[in-house]
């Protein structure tokens, strides 16, 4: 159990670096507040379902059961901003650096240190607020959220309580085709700015823990959704779309593995038709989109099962951990009512006052967002599958846009990018920004094939070279003498040569083995070094093959 937890916590490779030590008592670190760390005992307090059915029938029963209930899902996401320095001091932040090497009196919370706001945080917050179609608060403020935890140096977190910078927005997304597709719109309750806490690294035997403050003070945006999601896949796609949006905007690299995108999910169920909400359960330790999907589905089933068995009082408001290994949620701690964070306005920071000009300026500088791109690609006639692929990664979309803006055929460009180029990138583990094939050359390649200068087969061959080494299409064609042969006379000569060199096969063909046409075609291709136009080749070949009989 502990080792499973260990795997899923972001442990620094140099975890026992000699730094400040914090002793745990009773072997367990008690915390009463919400924290992004997961390190308390996981006692399975739940009684297993008393209904004993076979595995197959159990899943069938579960499906039937869950159909009677509606799941209400809400997600709280923390996005780590990719500003050059932290939110309130000039320390840089680099994921994976040696513990306590990127700290200063301010982010350490030393006596006498004061926070000063990094203006980029406001810029990024406004960008995200606008991208999520929110209403911006032109006058907002910071508040102190007070609780004790060893990784919280000041004993409070600078956050925003009652006047967040953005409220009341929504996000559009398209569900993946393999899950049924469909367009969805989910509400966003609020977006606010806050600072991250440090990290606790636990010793192997659990005797002590160490505090790494590199991450303390890093700016975060907390995005709270309306409880609009109904299934695991909707929730997972919501998270994926948020990742797309923050990457498109350039405000964060949105890596769940690095912790720059963290999601906590709230799930409750109610019988279909009921208007009252059921008891809400929070799930933490979700490190990938698929975990979000599976954890929610598991939790819905768990709650539905308890409900149908009449044990719905066992569904309590609590925090559960998703265990990736066991593929289930387990109780982490029961929520002791609502925590008292003793919020008050942060006296060390002045109010945040935005002018309409500032907001408008940022609005005008927003890039085309994923939703707008998807709608534009749809209008261009691309299939939903193509649309989703191309718009998923901002860099791929840019590449595609660059290609078609230079006049390339849309469908062909999409096919090349999604097919051979994507395969190459996957093999070589490169991103589209790292391949040597420039959009201009892709345009040229497409045009050359379309115009008949080279054959499709040759095109694929030189593509590989262009991807690996760069260069120009025209250059390669010249260098390797790849121009397609379209002169019927020339092809005819080659066909004659092949036929005369292979009398046995010719006899066999004329005897009825028409499949040998492929053999002859292959031979002609060989001597033409692949340059013969296949269509023309086969036409002439067929003529000549069938001529003498």
């Amino acid at each position: 159990m502990a080792s499973t937890l260990f795997r899923t916590i972001q442990i620094h490779p140099f975890s026992l670096y000699p730094t400040a030590i914090c002793r745990r008592r009773n072997g367990v670190l008690y915390c009463t507040m919400k924290s992004t760390q997961t390190q308390t005992a996981t006692q399975e307090k739940q009684q297993p379902p008393k209904v004993k059915v076979s595995q197959h029938t159990q899943s069938k029963t579960l499906d039937k059961i869950t159909r009677d209930y509606e799941a209400i899902i809400g997600i709280e996401t923390h996005v780590q901003l990719s500003t050059l320095t932290k939110a309130f001091c000039s320390c840089p932040y680099n994921y994976g650096s040696q513990p306590n090497t990127s700290i200063c009196p301010i982010c350490m919370g030393l006596p006498g240190a004061l926070p000063v706001l990094n203006s980029k945080v406001i810029e990024f917050a406004v960008k995200l607020g606008l991208a999520l179609n929110c209403k911006l608060s032109l006058n907002s403020k910071f508040d102190r959220k007070q609780y004790f935890y060893p990784d919280l140096p000041k004993g409070y977190q600078i956050s925003q309580f009652d006047i967040p910078i953005a409220t009341g927005g929504y996000i559009d997304l398209d569900l993946p085709l393999e899950f049924g597709g469909g367009h969805r719109k989910f509400g966003i309750t609020r977006v606010h700015m806050e600072e991250d806490a440090g990290k606790l690294l636990h010793s192997g035997n659990g005797d002590y823990s160490q505090v790494d403050l590199n991450r303390a003070g890093v700016p975060l945006l907390e995005i709270v959704s309306e409880p609009d999601m109904r299934t695991g896949i909707e929730a997972a796609e919501y998270a994926a779309e948020l990742q797309r949006v923050v990457r498109y905007l350039g405000v964060s690299n949105g890596n769940m593995q690095e912790g720059s995108l963290r999601c906590d999910v709230n799930v409750s169920i109610r019988p279909v038709g009921q208007s009252e909400f059921g008891t809400k359960v929070e799930i933490k330790n979700l490190n990938s989109f698929s975990s979000i999907n599976r954890a929610i589905d598991f939790e819905i089933s768990r709650q539905a099962l308890l409900h149908t068995q009449g044990h719905d009082d066992q569904i309590v408001q609590e925090t559960r951990l998703w265990e990736e290994g066991a593929q289930k949620t387990v109780t982490m701690r029961k929520k002791e009512g609502l925590a008292d964070y003793r919020y008050f306005p942060e006296p060390d920071l002045p109010e945040v006052i935005l002018t309409q000009e500032y907001v408008d300026g940022i609005r005008n500088s927003l890039p085309e967002l994923p939703e707008m791109k998807r709608r534009r690609y749809e209008k261009m006639g691309l299939s939903m599958q193509d649309v989703l692929f191309l718009a998923n990664d901002v860099n791929v979309a840019e590449y595609f846009d660059a290609t078609i803006s230079r006049g390339a055929d849309i469908k062909l460009a999409a096919n090349w990018i999604m097919g051979d180029i994507a395969a190459y990138m996957k093999n070589e583990k490169l991103s589209i920004n790292e391949i040597k094939l420039m959009p201009e050359e892709l345009v040229e390649l497409i045009a050359s094939i379309k115009g008949g200068t080279i054959s499709g087969k040759i095109g694929k061959e030189i593509l590989f070279e262009l991807l690996a080494k760069g260069g120009t299409v025209k250059g390669l064609i010249e260098e390797k003498d790849l121009v397609q042969i379209v002169d019927p006379v020339e092809i005819g000569k080659m066909v004659d040569k092949v036929l005369s060199e292979n009398p046995k096969q010719l006899e066999q063909y004329r005897g009825g083995k028409t499949k040998l046409q492929g053999f002859f075609a292959g031979q002609v291709m060989k001597i033409s070094k692949g340059k013969a136009n296949p269509v023309l080749l086969n036409k002439i070949l067929l003529e000549k093959l069938n001529a003498k009989s």
């Binding site: 400040a20 914090c22 009196p105 350490m108 919370g109 030393l110 006596p111 006498g112 240190a113 004061l114 926070p115 000063v116 706001l117 102190r144 007070q146 004790f148 060893p150 140096p153 000041k154 004993g155 409070y156 505090v211 003793r342 008050f344 006296p347 060390d348 920071l349 002045p350």
Partner: protein, 377 residues
Amino acid sequence: MLSTIQPSRCLSRFPVHLPTCGRTKSRFLRVVSSAQPVTTAPLADQSQILSIRDSLLSRHLSAVQVADSYLGRLKQTEPQIGSFLHLSEPDKVLKQAQEIDDKIKRNEEVGPLAGVLVAVKDNICTADMPSTGGSHILDGYRPPFDATAVKRLKDLGAIVVGKTNLDEFGMGSSTEASAFKVTANPWDLSRVPGGSSGGSAAAVSARQCVVSLGSDTGGSVRQPASFCGVAGLKPTYGRVSRFGLMAYASSLDVIGCFGSSVADTGILLHAISGHDALDATSSKREVPDFTSQFLSASSLKSRPLEGLRVGLIRETVDGGVDSGVKSAIQGAAAHLEQLGSIVTEVSLPSFSLGLPAYYILASSESSSNLSRYDGVR
């Protein structure tokens, strides 16, 4: 422990000529508005800082000599007064003084506070000396940085002679709440010097240093200044950077100045004032050079405050206020009138809400500010 020595005998041991302090009735300075033509009158007889500067630049005294005399007095009086929690090594102080002398010998420029010995309240961070905030929680704590106010003083040539005693984290008004010791009032060693900046006030009062820094949240510079008979100034919030001041109540704290004269206090204030990028609550307003506009009282006519209108808040002398306080306020108002000003009564109906508001803000902010002392770092 503390023997009672007659104040007059105590003071008579001090060889340096002292301008009168605390007794501000006959000698005071007036800040002239910039509209009037200004001639800088000789102030050296009313300002230790200017007097030291004159002596140094005229080679009449060396910085080492000045430092020596203060250090001697410090050594003599400290056992009875106990203003300091930490003292800089005398050699270090003399070395810094020597460096100033060398600069002067080479005809190099020295800062306006060159050779001036300054004491700093122990809740203000100094990198080369421990800063305990008057508490055992920070026993032996050595900050990795200087408070901005301290840095500015050092940049202008001042020599920090030590860290002074205070009520723990600034909470108290007598230094009796210090975790280390109680400072004695130099005028009467059986009395307290006030607080929380009791050590800083006593140090200036006993001439152990020229000027000193304190902090004021609810009177912690003004009250000990009054108790110890020195000039104490609480600047407007935001005038002086709070970076490096261990926070008590973030929306009320300020760093304040002690001097044996108003001129010295003002010169010290000017040295530390101004916007600081490290303090988001520090004011961006220009700091005018008000020190260049100080005029000696002797150069002024008999009703120097002619034309000045002063408001007296009615609620401060209303029912519920101690009769001794009332008469002191009314006496001061009468004095201002004598000097030519017009004192008008004004009303501030929300005055009575001030104290409850203070207690709510100060208590909640201080409990928040002290939660960082959790023993983890």
